[in-house]
Amino acid sequence: MSERRPLDAVDRAIINRLQGGFPIGERPFAEAARELEIGESDLIARLDRLLQEGFLTRFGPLYDAQQMGGGLTLAAIEVSESELEAVADQVNAHPEIAHNYSRNHPLNLWFVLATERPEQIAEVLSQIATETGLAVYDFPKEEEFFIGLQLQV
């Protein structure tokens, strides 16, 4: 990550193409590489570098925690600026936390948690409320209209 090398057009094409999916077959890299008009070994080497340098957080499956029988929710806490970091650490100490961001609103700490079983969501949120002494608001999804997080680079 220390080495700053800009992405070239091929890197960008790889990122754009592979956010939409990766082939499943005997030679998936060769198949994807053909579409990108590069060689199989070039694609593998570039993916390796994009992962090493931190442009990609992962290369693999995205699971649906709920389809797998688990629990998933978005939750938020209102915390003073001076305590924000300490509370974020308390929240992150739970391995179920997937994302955790501050946001510019009185309700300012927003995090996503995924659990193995649905009932663990309430357990973890209640532990966080106890540990922080703060109210934890749970915002489970009631309806999903769209999920297609793909960014063109």
């Binding site: 499956p61 995205l62 797998m68 997937a98 609103h105 300012n108 995924a114 193995e116």
Partner: protein, 178 residues
């Protein structure tokens, strides 16, 4: 706390995952091997055939157990520094209509209905917009207001500040499945 029994009990109501599925998920969640025949390599690690791995991955994708296979970007590092959660207070009767309308805007990356938490929180429709800077994101929000006639719909734009954690949801595999 995390046992095979828990998972097995939880799974049948959704998509039943057998022991091979569980091993497969555990092996690939850290990432696909960067070799010419990754599914053969995965098969070797879990003691099955390449064809079996391919068949099971197709099935899990078609059942939505795996939403997709591919790359996940670190959006900030790629220049998407403004990440906004835009929340709307929409009458319950029209939230579906607006949700389906918003999904047609290609700059919206996620859109969910979530519960209000009155009196502190009155918003029930949440969508995400990622942009290179805040001004661009705010221009998108203006565009939504204009095109969906949301001038009278209360809304707020919550930009992300510090990222305290970002990782994919990790599937907890029962130890005995390995």
């Amino acid at each position: 706390m995390k046992t095979a029994a828990n998972l097995a009990l939880a799974a049948p109501s959704r998509n039943a995952l057998d022991a091979i599925d569980q091993r497969l998920i555990a092996v690939i969640q850290g990432g696909l091997p960067l070799v010419s025949r990754p599914y053969q390599e995965i098969a070797r690690r879990i003691g099955t055939s390449e064809a079996e791995v391919i068949t099971r991955l197709w099935r899990m994708l078609s059942e939505d157990t795996i939403k997709r296979l591919g790359v996940v970007v670190r959006h900030r590092k790629l220049g998407y520094r403004a990440n906004a959660m835009v929340v709307w207070d929409v009458p319950d009767e029209t939230v579906d209509a607006l949700g389906y309308r918003l999904r047609r805007f290609d700059f919206i990356t996620l859109c969910y209905q979530r519960p209000r938490r009155l009196p502190e929180w009155s918003y029930n429709l949440f969508c995400m917009i990622h942009g290179r800077d805040r001004a661009k994101v705010l221009a998108r929000v203006d565009e939504l207001v204009e095109r969906c006639r949301l001038q009278d719909t209360p809304h707020e734009v919550l930009f992300s500040g510090r990222c305290f954690k970002q990782r994919g949801a990790v599937y907890q595999l029962p130890a005995e499945a390995l």
